[in-house]
Symmetry: none
Subunit: 208 residues, 4 copies
DNA sequence: GATGAATGAGCTTTCATTCAT
DNA sequence: GATGAATGAAAGCTCATTCAT
């Protein structure tokens, strides 16, 4: 298996449909990251993917669908990877640290995808208000699960609500990532943030 | 003085310029909240404001400008109010609690404005990437200032970075608010969240 | 009587109506010359004239009417002046030379008006196709009259049609003027043209 | 080869690119002639051409571009035809007569095109002031060339400036044509004018 | 499946003109 | 008469999507 340089590339491999599906998906990430969702032109995605405009509509319902599929496929892979890595840790504290690290690493690993997640997804009304982002809930639930585990193990305080904690941590990570991207990815910022966030949140939920 | 039902209304009152400026601003909030920025039609804002299409362009440079002015004027007022209230508290811990409360209360107080802040602002590329949201930084700095105060008073650990803490707390509040709005404003959710967040973050930064 | 710097100024003096009528007319010439008829904005004419937008509509029916009035009033004065000067000459040959000289001098004397005559008048469909430019015919008839006089005096060939000659001479003068204006009013060009045109046309119609 | 009813039709045939390009060009001539450049609506040109509005913008940059292309393509063909015909004459006097005839015939041959040339071209500021009408200069130079030839042959006086003569003759032809068009194309007028103009201008420049 | 020329609905903005003051 | 804020019709152009080849 040839090594992939980014997540969308890896993900699309699983769908055996066609080479073109993957190319359009990758082109979508690039163009959405470069221009933003609303300023991205379908024909630019087509050109970038090396296909005709019409071909896009063989593989995707419409422009929104490209964005949604990028999100869904990428997140499915991310979640799978997360779960694999987390399962190697037994300690809930270590798991929280690892989750924070992996989330922030992801932004660095595939910057175009990071930008799409942070900035562009929110531009699609259909996405925000109509589309049920099941995978997004799955992602948050990874956090909730770690919390519950830690509560069971007596490491975290039982009165913390997993549903609120997962959003709080995710929101913090999201905001930190957004700032980092909009501020041109300042060196060292994410590493520093990682430790601070782990420190604050772990003490915030620690028992005793 | 008649009591105002929302922030934009209050704000625009200060500018005595014209009744129409305020009406357009209020109409903008309503229509942006209802349709989203990109699907909002200028002529719908005009109708809602009870003015002609062209009148909008006497008071605003363009559609983006309406959004930006809503943000600027509202946030200026919010920050002023925040600072007034916070100055009545002497204890940094109480200030953090108050900040969290006021942020969440704001979402309930003016739901359309909340929706615009949460969902629509991020849809304007001009806003996110080109326009320098000075007021947004001012808002975050209110948090940073509280932290520094608490650190000086020996209440909070000195190794916490104000710049990271302010984003973490804001991100958490933002995510909670967004969820609440997208999930149709479930009763009691914000009150519950308020206590949990205060609990987590205050313990997270507490000294000793 | 204060000395006037241009034709429109002089003309409008005769209409005793109001100072504002004249100011709008002068402003119209300036703005039409600067921007062209279609790119001229009524509110720019108003500003230039130092009156309110609405005031324009007290003195003129509409934007087209300003152009037409500029044309009519200026041309009436020009024709009056022409006739006075021509009446001082007894020789039809001298009259042709004088006509050519005066037409070209006019372009130099009031450049803005010249530009409006040459370039902008033709941009108003209403002007070209609907409005009957009586004064324009009067102007051409000055030429026809000179020709007839010369024919009677036996100086010019009787078979030359006054109606065609007047258009031919006017057309030649018009084209020369247009070129001179579009080519940034090259020094000496009009003087040179004057002699050549007189030479060609006078020999062209000379008897024997 | 089917005979073409007008110049634009003929011209566009050479570009085999697409049927639609030619249809839009022809529709442009018709609509510009009917409504004038500024009152012509792009969607009317589209309807007349039997294409969708957007199709226009596949073949032309914008509305101005349609006018410019009409001018350029037509004039190129006209000049080519002129040169061919003129080369069949050896006598400079005959060439002047032929030029005059051909110019006026052109107005009758394709009346819509004539109207666009006479009336509408001057309405585009872009055209008059920004766009360099190279072809127009080429057209005038055909006249200048004939004059020089005649001067060399000792038929025309050497002191006549070709640059002024070409504008004088063109201006006369132009004015005559404009009058004829605005006056509803009076029968016989052009034929009469042709002879008078040839008479005046040839005597005007004749040697001895 | 793939193409890409063609479509045409849709929208922001301008600006001549009006009219209440 | 004079004002100038307000009007609102009008139009060029874009671009997601379709469909004949």
């Amino acid at each position: 298996m040839r090594s992939k340089h980014n997540l969308v590339g890896s993900l699309a491999d699983e769908s055996q449909a066609s080479d073109k599906y993957r190319r359009i998906l990758e082109a979508g990430v690039k163009v959405f990251a470069r221009k933003g969702f609303h300023n991205a032109r379908v024909n630019e995605i087509a050109r970038e993917a090396g296909v005709a405009d019409g071909t896009i509509y063989i593989y995707f319902k419409n422009k929104d669908d490209i964005l949604i599929k990028i999100f869904e496929e990428s997140l499915a892979l991310i979640i799978a990877r997360l779960k694999t890595e987390l399962s190697r840790q037994t300690d809930a504290v270590a798991k929280v640290k690892l989750f924070i690290k992996m989330h922030l690493d992801l932004m660095k690993e595939d910057q175009a995808l990071g930008e799409v997640f942070q900035v562009e997804l929110r531009q699609s009304n259909k996405f925000m208000k109509e589309y049920l982002p099941q995978r997004y809930y799955d992602y948050l639930d990874v956090i909730a699960e770690i919390l519950r585990e830690g509560q069971k193990a007596g490491l975290f305080r039982p009165e913390i609500s997993p549903d609120i904690f997962k959003r709080a941590l995710f929101g913090a990570l999201d905001e930190i990532s957004l700032f980092w991207i909009l501020r041109n990815r300042e060196q060292g910022y994410l590493e520093n943030s990682r430790e601070q966030l782990a420190d604050i949140f772990l003490r915030g939920i620690a028992r005793g």
